[in-house]
Amino acid sequence: MAKKNTSFPKTPTGINGLDEITKGGFPKGRPVLICGSAGCGKTLFAAQFLVKGITDYNEPGVFMSFEETASDLSLNLNSLGFDLEKLKSENKLRVDHVRIERSEIEETGEYDLEALFIRLNHAIDSVGAKRVVLDTIESIFSGMEDMAILRSEIRRLFAWLKEKGVTAIITGERGEKSLTRHGLEEYVSDCVILLDFRVIDQIATRRLRIVKYRGSTHGTNEYPFLIDETGISVIPITSLQLDYKSPTTIISTGLPALDKFFSGKGIYKASSTLITGTAGTAKTILASHFAMSSYKRKEPVLYFSFEESPDQLIRNIASIGINFKPAIRSKLLHIHASRPSLQGLEMHLLVMNKLMAEFKPRTVIVDPISSLITVGNSSEVRAMLVRLMDTLKMNEINAVFTSLTHYKSEFNDATVDAVSSLADTWIDLDNGQKNDERVRSLQIIKARGMGHAMSLQNFTITNKGIQFISNGKK
């Protein structure tokens, strides 16, 4: 039996980010209860634990399904990139479908679930399983009458699993008053995880919470999680401590003329820059200059575009002489476009985090961050931005955010509010009017840690990008 001591043995979950929240994984050799309402991802969660256990940690597994048939299960999980049939043929996975058909079963007199134990034992031994999934054992309750027998047998089953030394996931349907419909949490008391699927303002968010983890510390928050073509990932949105390093290296904004307005002749590496302005003030163009400067330094750029498709962005930027194509071809620039309303803020953050982990950019551009506000309220937006900036800073990534403001000096937008205090550099763009002409101007509102030009700088947009009017008035 595993004892509680300093070296509490744990089993990696195989779910991105969950090991961090659980400080190493599930309790080794003990049952874990995953509960949640229908469609919250329990089966997938359990399957990923098994599949990754086999592929990443060389721990064979047994999937005992009380709901889906083995072939349905293979089919459903195939769409998420898990090839159960292959693992089965390699003799690393056993899937046993336990079908309990109420209509063909009669009960009379004493019985026990020994046959289930024998089946499970046989399956475990046949592949040398270290991981077991029981999904959803509660369906046995709907197929049987004698609750007293079932309860004591299920209690015995969990004790047996512990004795067998396998790490087991038991899934349970969410009950109205209790975590699971039949109170499984009474029997599995070592680790309980609750999955939740919520729809707020028509946007669905999946969340995960560790309700209980005996003998171990764990994150207590609700963590959003994502189901995509690679399975489940949970991104722990962690420490908001201000303990990241601050490089003193100066990098170019991509516009030598703009660099000159800063006393350091550029901006600090790994700092965040906010570009604000009303519609049509060249925010995206300025952001593109930032992107190109990163590309010229041979540093990867990740460009999140929330308003334009990659093609449209490339075409429009090309018209002012900025060519993204070689950068994309050399894989140094990656444009990720999505609709803000596609998913909740948390999900956007998750996707961003995931892409950042994959692509390892040195520069991240979010254009515009203000459109994300359409999917959240201001406190959520702020929280998300703090997290995003935190991640960027911790990874020493240069960040550029553009934000649309609504007419002049009314900086009361939630996004601007939230970002401006967090951003290290703030550049405001404006379209002024002089005689019959519009005059574009740029103003540096703040630049943390360095001096900057105080005056309004006029510029035009040429077919070579932004050009400052050096002898312009003001």
């Binding site: 009669e106 009379t108 026990d112 679930l113 020994e114 089946r119 049987m144």
Partner: protein
């Protein structure tokens, strides 16, 4: 029907437990009483043949399976309630029909 036994029953057990022994004793008695000469009972010990549990979807012990006549019926428990077993296997109805 001729030589073919009309009733094909299977009793799944896991070792010689009191429940299993009782179940076998009970079903043999009911069959002798109501289906004399028309039945077979095959006893399968899952401790010896664990791989057989999956095929008939056995999860409880003891389980009596009526393989024939179709459809398959299952009775779980020590079969101590004769009435319930006969109804469950649909034996009485058959008798009265004859």
């Amino acid at each position: 029907m001729a030589k073919q036994k009309k009733w094909e029953l299977r009793l799944y057990i896991a070792g010689q437990t009191p429940k299993s022994t009782l179940a076998l004793k009970n079903i043999t008695r009911y069959c002798e009483e109501h289906l004399e000469g028309e039945y077979t009972i095959e006893v399968i010990d899952l401790l010896k043949n664990p791989q057989l549990a999956e095929g008939d979807q056995i999860f409880a012990i003891p389980t009596l399976v009526r393989k024939l006549p179709v459809p398959i019926r299952k009775i779980i428990g020590d079969l101590s309630n004769e009435e319930k077993v006969l109804v469950g296997l649909n034996i009485r109805t058959l008798k009265t029909q004859n």
